[in-house]
């Protein structure tokens, strides 16, 4: 079954180890600006939110690419960029509503999260997430669990209102 990158912001401690793990894996150097996952840190609100490519079913970046450089690996349901085909036109960057694909001046190619095309084990960011705010989980297990969690909160509210 294809897996998804699940993000649980409540567990994130804002250490940014995921950014470092990502940049080393794909770039060989420590550089958060080259990471495909980013932790947004809202200090005042005490909210820390990692974001990365959602691997859209209907991926606008892939659809708009004039050279078909963005392909999906159907085993892992992850889109990846074929370097040889990418001409650096930036259409994907414009198309993505999440800012999850970027172009870098040094090689002029698009880069995005490909879930490390993990055949065995977790993507690198998940491996280095000590507080387990990032999980590599079965695609449908997570939403069902979330629905249950929402229902649980609603139950508490109903009890309060009724009470």
């Amino acid at each position: 079954m294809p897996k998804v990158l699940s993000i649980i912001p409540e567990k994130c401690t804002a250490c940014r180890a995921c950014e470092l793990a990502c940049s080393v894996k794909h770039y060989g150097e420590f550089n958060p600006s080259r990471s495909r996952i980013k932790v947004s840190i809202f200090l005042e609100e005490a909210v820390y939110i990692p974001t990365a490519c959602t691997q859209c079913t209907e991926a606008w970046c892939a659809k708009i690419c004039p050279t078909t450089a963005i392909l999906r690996n159907d085993d892992y349901m992850a889109y990846y960029v074929v370097d040889d085909k990418c001409v650096g036109c930036k259409m994907c960057v414009l198309a993505c509503p999440f800012g999850a694909i970027e172009l870098y001046a040094d090689h002029g190619k698009a880069e995005k999260c490909d879930l490390c095309l993990s055949i065995d084990g977790d993507p690198e960011c998940v491996k280095f997430c000590t507080p387990k705010a990032l999980l590599f989980t079965d695609e449908d297990a997570d939403p069902k669990a979330k629905q249950s969690a929402v229902a649980l909160r609603m139950k508490e509210v109903y009890k309060e209102v009724a009470g």
């Binding site: 180890a17 550089n31 005490a46």
Partner: protein
């Protein structure tokens, strides 16, 4: 590898901005951070100069592991001559700004001179500008960060001073990422003396290590050890540093009411457990930190309403037990004020406690303060903290720090500290090793130059009797040298609960490929310690300054498990000098300096 290789030098007097290649041989000899910056400061300034004059330099420095995935690899240090002590200062902080400095491309930023008007430094990769700071002068560190991020980049990381630093309070620290402090020795006043309000970093470059895959593997091994350890894996993330309040209090060496007592009756009201239950929102990590000991907290209601990070152990002690205040909301509020106004919570708390004792003894007249200032008065604590930070009213006198306050009112012996820097939260009468550590610390009283408490209380690496003096000279020396090494790498001393020098050496070597051995990195720690000592000797310090206050040496702790104890410094200090290879006068011998490659005296 792993050093960026560039020094940014900014002269605020004439506006010159230069970039110099880092001498990599020198970097290898001192590793980075505390060691490297101390060497550069030693070479570039006269240790006798006025620390608040334009000739003093402020060095912001990272280590070769800052900006890497080494657990806690996000530290930076501020190294300068301290205006509080007159000795060498090295204040260390986490957060994100250190890593961002590396990503901008710099190992060190050396700030010289004095700007003709308030300025901030905007370091955007290789574009560096000195900008007018009129819009943020006078404002809190939080307001300053918000305003300067708006004026530069939403992604910028910032260190700044608050009103305390601007008004040259000797309690002033440097605050970064709103809640993290390069706290001790008055380094914020040095920034203020240079009219430098803030340094803003934005970097998109890389930190490179020699063997990325093996390095990441070593990081994973270190993370696993940190997670498995009771302190760094459970206690610190769950209860933060205040998790030890009840432990230290139970040992009977929690200094209370300006060290008049060894136990605080209200300790549990300011403990990590109570913080967890009453005000904690969540825990948080600094950059690359898998321990995540920071407390994100909120006092939701009442007159001490507020939110922020902390209080840390040292904060609940200095603003709590030391002032006799057991009201967690008040202590937390005072801690928030210290972060916003830019004061070291230890120096601020101890100063207020000193004032309380001097008020109760009748040495400070009530008319000078404007109202009574007694131990245990929560309202007075919060009011005095704010006045201290702003330098208003009696706060302008408190802003001088506890040592000068006690001297001013004719009782220098009532200041609890060494070399005019306040003690932290362990009584040297109870833990003999930490007492020796305070007396010999190169930056004045400090627990973070050599945390002998790890052995004396927590049994790391092995338990020793806190009340014994046997072996404490060796323990203090070993802790001091190892810590100088840790500080120089750019990682946090809290890793040492679970990681030994060999673990950190493994990461450092894979990052730098410098050919270090474990023995050599510890020797480098010793070299750094001796160089700091040489700086202080040149600045005018001598063995007579390696001492403790009368109260600690002569007045026994009156009650509790440490009842009857005094610090037996005389039993330890001669042995300490001997083990250090120093003369009985505390001066490193030529043989020792040769052994450390510090001879002829640089």
């Amino acid at each position: 590898m792993s050093w960026s290789g560039t020094i940014l030098r900014v002269n605020l007097s004439n506006g010159n901005i230069t970039k110099e290649p880092l001498d990599l041989k020198l970097a290898r000899t001192y590793i980075g951070g505390r060691g490297l910056a101390t060497k550069i400061l030693y070479d570039e300034i006269d240790p006798r100069l006025d620390p608040l004059g334009p000739a003093n330099k402020l060095i912001l420095v990272t280590g070769p592991l800052t900006g890497t995935n080494a657990p806690t690899g996000g530290r930076y240090m501020a190294v300068t001559k301290s205006p509080l002590t007159g000795a060498i200062a090295c204040s260390n902080s986490g957060g994100y700004v250190g890593a961002e400095m590396r990503y901008a491309g710099y190992d060190l930023v050396i700030v010289e001179g004095k700007a003709p008007h308030p300025v901030y430094l905007w370091v955007n990769n290789d574009r560096v500008e000195i900008r007018d700071a009129a819009i943020v002068w006078g404002r809190s560190t939080h307001e300053t960060e918000d305003a300067l991020r708006a004026a530069t980049s939403a992604e910028a990381k910032i260190l700044s001073i608050g009103p305390a630093g601007e008004t040259l309070s000797l309690t002033a620290c440097i605050i970064n990422d709103k809640h993290r402090a390069a706290g001790r020795s008055g380094v914020g006043a040095v920034m203020g003396s240079k009219n430098l309000k803030a340094v803003v970093f934005r970097g998109t470059r890389s930190v490179k290590v020699a063997h990325p895959q093996a390095f990441m593997q070593a990081c994973s091994t270190a993370v696993a050890k940190l997670k498995a350890d009771h302190g760094s894996g459970e206690g610190l993330p769950m209860y933060g540093t205040p998790g030890i309040v009840n432990v230290i209090n139970a040992h009977g060496f929690m200094p209370t009411n300006n060290f008049r007592f060894g136990q605080f009756v209200d300790a549990d009201r300011i403990s990590g457990e109570t913080i967890h239950d009453q005000i904690l929102i969540r825990n948080k990590g600094c950059f690359a930190c898998t321990i995540a000991c920071a407390r994100v907290t909120e006092v939701k209601a009442g007159k001490f309403k507020g939110s922020g990070e902390g209080p840390e152990y040292e904060t609940v002690w200095a603003l709590g037990a030391m002032t006799g205040v057991g009201d967690l909301a008040a202590v937390t509020k005072a801690g928030y004020l210290c972060n916003e106004l830019g004061m070291d919570t230890i120096e601020a708390g101890v100063t207020i406690a000193t004032a309380m004792e001097l008020f109760e003894s009748g040495d400070i007249p009530e008319r000078e303060i404007g109202h009574p200032l007694r131990f245990g008065d929560a309202d007075a604590l919060v009011e005095m903290t704010e006045k201290l930070g702003r330098g208003e009213g009696f706060g302008a006198i408190l802003a001088l720090g506890g040592a000068r306050l006690a001297e001013r009112y004719g009782h220098p012996e009532l200041f609890m500290g060494v070399k005019r820097q306040a003690f932290p939260a362990y009584d040297g009468r109870g833990a003999q090793g930490i007492g020796l550590g305070y007396a010999t610390s190169n930056r004045g009283a400090c627990h973070l130059r050599g945390y002998t408490i790890a052995a004396e209380v927590f049994g790391v690496p092995r338990k020793v009797d806190p009340f014994a003096t046997d072996g404490k000279a060796a323990l203090a020396k070993a802790s001091q040298d190892a810590t100088a090494f840790v500080d120089s790498t750019g990682t946090c001393v809290f890793t040492t609960f679970a990681l030994g020098p060999a673990d950190l050496h493994a990461m450092l070597e894979l990052a730098t490929d410098a050919g270090y051995t474990v023995e050599e990195v510890l020797k480098i720690g010793e070299r750094i310690w001796n160089l700091e000592r040489l700086f202080n000797l040149k600045a005018g310090f001598s063995a007579k300054d390696d001492t403790l206050p009368h109260r600690i040496l002569e007045e026994p702790i009156p009650a509790g498990p440490a009842k009857g104890k005094v610090a037996r410094l005389g039993e330890m200090l001669p042995e300490y000098y001997r083990l250090r290879g120093w003369t009985p006068e505390g001066v490193p011998t030529p043989e020792k300096l040769k052994d450390l490659a510090l001879y002829p005296t640089p």
